[in-house]
């Protein structure tokens, strides 16, 4: 079981819930993220999240995509832009949007790297799945503060409990 921010298990709340400043995910989404991260381990995985934007971002579906990074798959990722375009069009049909992206950090903490900062866009949620050969995966959520050139962590909400950022 994927453990958001390493804070224990939380009840599932499927669909698109809402709560202030948090990123809302279902338990099933977290399972999908961990599964993908383990499938590609020790290489990085990546994918797209579709949902409802706003102060609280609600993820409705998670879409694994191919890592297009031509070299260094173990420490680089690149989401296929054609997939982004395709998913964006499909999301629009459902009245939703691409709300963010995820990638894994194999054998690395779930915090944005210098490489992540370099290529960050404001307005999206970036989920990072830290995965190792043994032990639970950890998931953290971030948005990029363009003004200050740094990422800001957000709590991940699964069900009723809110998981505060690790600080």
């Amino acid at each position: 079981m994927t453990d958001p921010a390493g804070r224990g298990e939380h009840p599932e709340q499927p669909g698109c819930g809402s709560s202030g400043d948090a990123v809302v995910l279902s338990a099933e989404h977290l399972v999908q993220l961990e599964r993908h991260a383990r499938q590609t381990y020790p290489e990085e995985c990546c994918g797209v999240m579709v949902g409802q934007p706003g102060e609280t971002v609600s993820v409705c579906s998670v879409h694994p995509t191919e890592n297009l990074s031509s070299t260094r798959l173990h420490d680089r990722y690149e989401v296929d832009p054609r997939e982004i375009l395709k998913l964006d069009r499909a999301a629009e049909q459902r009245g939703l949007e691409i709300v963010g992206f995820y990638h894994s950090h194999p054998d690395h903490p779930p915090a944005p790297s210098a490489t992540d900062v370099e290529s960050a866009w404001p307005g999206y949620v970036y989920l990072i799945v830290a995965v190792a050969e043994v032990g639970e995966a950890r998931v953290t959520a971030w948005t990029f503060d363009e003004k200050h050139g740094r990422f800001r962590e957000h709590p991940i909400r699964v069900g009723e409990q809110s998981l505060r950022p690790a600080g």
């Binding site: 990722y77 790297s113 960050a120 307005g123 740094r150």
Partner: protein, 98 residues
């Protein structure tokens, strides 16, 4: 000739929070220039100081990356859709100063 331009979420504040806008032009370059006329400031989000498309910006005409067409000189026809698609990349390699 007016074409539709898809705007990704990070750039939507520059166009009144719309996900799609119209712009005029016979080529991609013209359309992006017209976009900046209609929504001043958006050009700086798409182009770098060197006048080239930013590294983390992809431009598509319908389903094709303009890098595999004629770049910004790609000629547009009625009904074409221009999409600005963010390049999403990164990965581990040392912690960031967060």
């Amino acid at each position: 000739m007016a074409v539709k331009v898809r705007i990704p979420t990070p750039l939507q504040p520059a166009v009144g929070q719309k996900s799609e806008v119209e712009a005029e032009g016979g080529t991609v370059r013209d359309v992006l220039a017209d976009l900046d006329t209609r929504y001043p400031g958006i050009k700086s989000r798409i182009y770098g100081d060197d006048g080239k498309l930013r590294r983390f910006v992809n431009v598509y005409v319908n389903d094709e990356d303009i890098r595999f067409l004629q770049g910004e000189d790609t000629v547009l026809k009625e009904g074409d859709e221009v999409s600005i698609v963010p390049a999403i990349a990164g990965g581990t390699r040392g912690p960031a100063p967060i």
